[in-house]
């Protein structure tokens, strides 16, 4: 029997290994011949074929529907213009709606629903003039009163939107949100209503949403803010209809029937966690998109990548784990679309805590980071080294910065010059990070490099904590954090959003790391209110120079956006702000070459 058993067993093992081998085969990279039509397109083709057979007299060229299929990853928590705040949520909103202004492919602020805008002499009043005859996708008129409603809804503390503070330059807005007593609430609400006003051609407040000559929107700002027209391009101002929000209740955004917008697309259907379908909006004032868009929500990047290779998606994110395999493949490497992102990450120090209250120690650690190697070895090339704060592609980016670049000798010299005198005398330094498998590898790498530079005498402790707990610690000035990596992503492309919002001495961000620099604050205070764009840019440049000198954090790397895009997708123009999918800022240029679609 034992012999029989042996044969049976070996037979099973052989069969199993054959099975495994068969399974393994499709994983092998570069097999374009495996690729087959997706289910949906196949159906359409069948239909058309039937038609042409029946109506032989008039052979209409079979137009395949142009659908751009994108994997968006996580499904949104909330798709409400005045409550959303995550990239995947905004990815929906910016197709359906449009703000008073919008960004173009160069990230310049250009007219959106408004055809022009004007500041008063000291930039405390901003007046928009809307285009005439604007329509919602259902054909109903869109006037300035709609924007008045949206902007006030965003400020209203009852809405409690997570991005409410972005319009806090509007006079009365922060006071209304902070008001405790009922009479204060009423007072500041009234002030906000005075600060945000839709006016008709005779300069009188508009009566209703139907009024055709209601084309002016006037904003009163609490301080000069010559960048505010760019803020008005953000999703928080998108004019969702009041009656729909009220009819649908808190949950209105869940149903495509309430999402009547003024953007380039119409939300045709929304199946939570499965699919969102957007079709071109014929009532849009500008260039009407050439393709429909279909979002799906697959969070597992492995699965999404398989689906992409199987021609089920046209655009998917490219995970760092797949990057090497893609680059090694002659076909796939051409489909990789990689461009600068909108975030900068920095090794941050609590400037008020030992030993980082000594600028020489901060300098030492800044010199000790081999950013080039980090980008190559750890980020697998998906990033670019950073020595300054504003990333490439954004107004205010400074090319050719060299201060605090990797220099192990300087790093050691700085420690020798510091109040500690030598590495031995430094207290234990704790590097805290959010505990994920990916981060463990990254931080161990970083710790090893520090040891390389400073020698084994460096007392460095790596401390992983649960990711959300790490975020909480970062925000708490009193927490045990000492050194950690943290960053910032642009809300809108203006240096003010990078320098003033993050590093101005009284902001919570600067306070958390303990940065307050008089010279820097003075420069940005001047820049923020400067009306002359050239002068303003120069002031911000000086401020950033000062920031790099002060070295409150060690600038580390700029992120990149990395995607796979099928070859038949044409006309994609990327910007650094496209963190959802490539081309999302100017979707009208995108087309699909149907001749190239696989049969």
């Amino acid at each position: 029997m034992s012999r029989k058993t042996f044969f049976t067993m070996s037979g099973i093992v052989a069969a199993a290994s054959m099975l495994l081998a068969a399974c393994a085969q499709p994983v092998a990279p570069a097999q374009p011949q495996v690729i087959k039509e997706t289910v949906e397109v196949v159906k359409e083709v069948e239909k058309v074929v039937e038609k042409t057979v029946v109506v032989e007299a008039t052979p209409v060229p079979a137009e395949k529907p142009k659908v751009l299929r994108i994997n968006l990853g996580t499904y949104p928590d909330v798709i409400d213009p005045q409550k959303s705040s995550f990239v995947n949520e905004i990815a929906h909103l910016k197709l359906i709606y449009e703000g008073l202004t919008r960004l173009n492919e160069k990230l310049e602020t250009v007219p959106g629903a408004a055809e022009k805008w004007e500041y008063n002499a000291d930039a405390t009043e901003l007046t928009f003039t809307l285009r005439k005859g604007l329509k919602y996708s259902d054909g109903t008129p869109l006037n300035a009163k709609r924007f008045e409603y949206s902007i006030i809804r965003n400020i209203n503390p009852a809405t409690a939107g997570e991005y409410a503070s972005i319009t806090n330059e509007i006079a009365g807005a922060p006071e209304w949100q902070g008001a405790e007593k009922d009479e204060d609430k009423a007072k500041f609400e009234e002030q906000v209503r005075q600060s945000v006003q839709a006016l008709d051609s005779s300069g009188q407040p508009c009566k209703d949403y139907e009024q055709e000559d209601c084309l002016t929107l006037k904003l009163k700002l609490s301080k000069p803010a010559p960048y505010f027209h760019t803020v008005m391009s953000l999703w928080v101002t998108y004019p969702a209809k009041q009656e729909n929000i009220e009819e649908g209740g808190e949950n209105w955004w869940n149903s495509s029937k309430f999402h009547i917008g003024n953007g380039p697309f119409i939300l045709k259907s929304l199946e939570p966690f499965v699919k969102g379908v957007f079709v071109p909006n014929p009532n849009y004032w500008g260039d009407i998109p050439k393709v429909s868009i279909e979002y799906q929500y697959i969070t597992d990047s492995n699965v999404a990548f398989q689906a992409y290779k199987n021609d089920e998606f046209d655009i998917v994110g490219l995970a760092a784990e797949d990057y090497q395999a893609v680059m090694a493949d002659p076909e796939l490497s051409k489909q990789a679309t990689i461009y600068p992102g909108s975030c900068t990450l920095a090794l941050q120090f609590r400037n008020f805590k030992e030993p980082f209250n000594d600028p020489k120690v901060r300098a030492a650690f800044s010199y000790a980071i081999d950013r080039e190697r980090w980008v190559k070895d750890v980020l697998q090339g998906l990033g670019s080294p950073a020595l300054t704060w504003i990333p490439p592609g954004f107004p205010g980016y400074k090319e050719g910065e060299t201060r605090f670049a990797y220099d192990p000798e300087m790093a050691k010299k700085m420690i020798a010059e510091s109040s500690y005198g030598s590495v031995e005398n430094l207290p234990t330094i704790v590097l805290t990070f959010g505990d994920t498998p990916r981060n463990r590898v990254r931080y161990e790498w970083l710790g090893a490099r520090f040891k390389e530079v400073f020698g084994d005498a460096l007392k460095l402790e790596l401390k992983p904590v649960e990711p959300t707990a790490f975020t909480a610690k970062q925000k708490d000035r009193e927490s045990d954090l000492q050194m950690f990596i943290g960053g910032w992503c642009a809300d809108y492309p203006d240096p003010q959003n990078w320098l003033s919002v993050y590093f101005e001495g009284s902001t919570t961000f600067a306070d958390r790391i303990g940065f307050k620099d008089e010279e820097f604050d003075k420069l940005i205070a001047q820049a923020d209110v400067e009306l002359d764009p050239a002068k303003r840019a120069e002031l911000y440049q000086k401020a950033q120079d000062r920031l790099v000198d002060a070295n409150p954090v060690a600038f580390f790397w700029h992120n990149v956006n990395a995607y796979m895009v099928k070859p038949w997708v044409k006309g994609i123009v990327t910007t650094s702000q496209d963190a959802d999918w490539p081309g999302s800022t100017v979707p009208a240029t995108i087309d699909i070459d149907t001749a190239m679609l696989p049969q």
Binding site: G11, D80, E162, W253, A307, E312, L345, A472
Partner: protein, 331 residues
């Protein structure tokens, strides 16, 4: 019987209370809150955080939040809002505008219950269970009857894989085989209507349960086969089929039923990996996300619901014993 049921159901109350209390304490002990983001992305500003905390009552003392969640509390207008005791599992802090019970049980407009989140999970779990039992029980029986045959070895080999290989590996291989290789299904489903799209995920999902069932069935069958009453039945001159199906199988099923309760609960609550890989719009994905998100009411609501499922699973197992084995009395 009625007193037994009543007593068991009454026991649910303290169990649920203790689970709620432990969950609440652990949840609150973890640093961070619902509006803390991933460290590499932009954070909500402090004033807005305060507004949100006030809106959702997170500025109240912890004990009041706990009581408020379970029993109810007064809202801003002084209206009493009933809590979990009335089936109100609270508003989600992240999926704004939805209550937890809506997230779990409310189908999209014009769809039925089985298109809700839990409906999807339930469809997947029930199908997985049916497949697991329909394959696992006969496999175990035949394995035992043909002990040490090639069939036995083949089945043992497969069940060992089922127990040893983690489900995400099986899931990924099944995608490579069925979607990429054979093209029986797309890698990513475009619709979850009906049962067809659930079949392959359910096979993968039920694979572990199937393997365990088959192994347990095999060993208990082998055990039962050597019992005196089986020998007696044979001695009486009963046909082989009657001996197997009436005397052996029925007795061998008891341990299977014991594992069935936890298995059902496990399937209903444990589909996180499968849901993620196959993109099934079910409860598991949300639950895991809600923990990282510190979506307190979502964590509490889903935990309580899961506990109820487990309790009900165990209760029905106790009741089933009586059906299979009349010697076991419930009272």
């Amino acid at each position: 019987m009625a007193t037994f049921l009543a007593r068991r159901l009454l026991w649910f109350i303290p169990v649920l209370f203790v689970v709620a209390l432990i969950t609440f304490v652990l949840m609150k002990a973890a640093p961070g809150g619902p509006w803390d983001r991933d460290a590499e992305s932009k954070q909500v500003d402090p004033r807005t955080m305060e507004l949100l905390a006030r809106k959702y009552g997170l500025d109240k003392p912890a004990w009041r939040q706990f009581i408020g969640y379970l029993v109810g509390d007064f809202d801003d207008e002084g209206q009493f809002v009933c809590g979990a005791v009335c089936g109100n599992l609270g508003p989600s802090y992240r999926q704004r505008g939805k209550t937890v019970q809506q997230i779990l049980f409310e189908p999209p407009p014009e769809k039925g219950f089985f298109d809700s989140k839990f409906g999807h999970t339930a469809r997947l779990a029930v199908l997985a269970l049916v497949i697991a039992l329909a394959v696992g029980i006969p496999a175990g029986v035949f394995s035992a009857l043909k002990q040490n045959s090639w069939l036995d070895y083949a089945l043992t080999f497969i069940t060992n894989i089922g127990i040893a290989v983690p489900s995400f590996v099986v899931a990924f291989f099944s995608i490579l085989i069925f979607a990429v290789g054979l093209k029986w299904m797309p890698v990513v489903q475009k619709s979850w209507a009906g049962l067809t799209p659930f079949i392959i995920p359910a096979i993968v999902f039920g694979f572990g349960t199937m393997a365990q069932t088959a192994r347990l069935m095999r060993s208990t069958m082998l055990d039962v086969m050597r019992q005196d009453y089986v020998r007696t039945a044979r001695a009486k001159g009963l046909g082989e089929q009657a001996v197997i199906w009436k005397h052996m199988l029925r007795n061998a099923l008891i341990p299977i039923i014991t594992t069935l309760g936890p298995a059902v609960a496990g399937l209903l609550t444990g589909s996180i990996v499968i849901e993620n890989i196959f993109g099934v719009p079910g409860v598991g994905r949300d639950f895991i996300q809600s923990i990282g998100n510190r979506d307190y009411s979502m964590i509490m609501g889903t935990t309580l619901f899961y506990v109820i499922l487990i309790l009900l699973g165990n209760l029905s197992v106790d009741l089933l014993y009586g059906v299979v084995d009349p010697r076991i009395r419930v009272d």
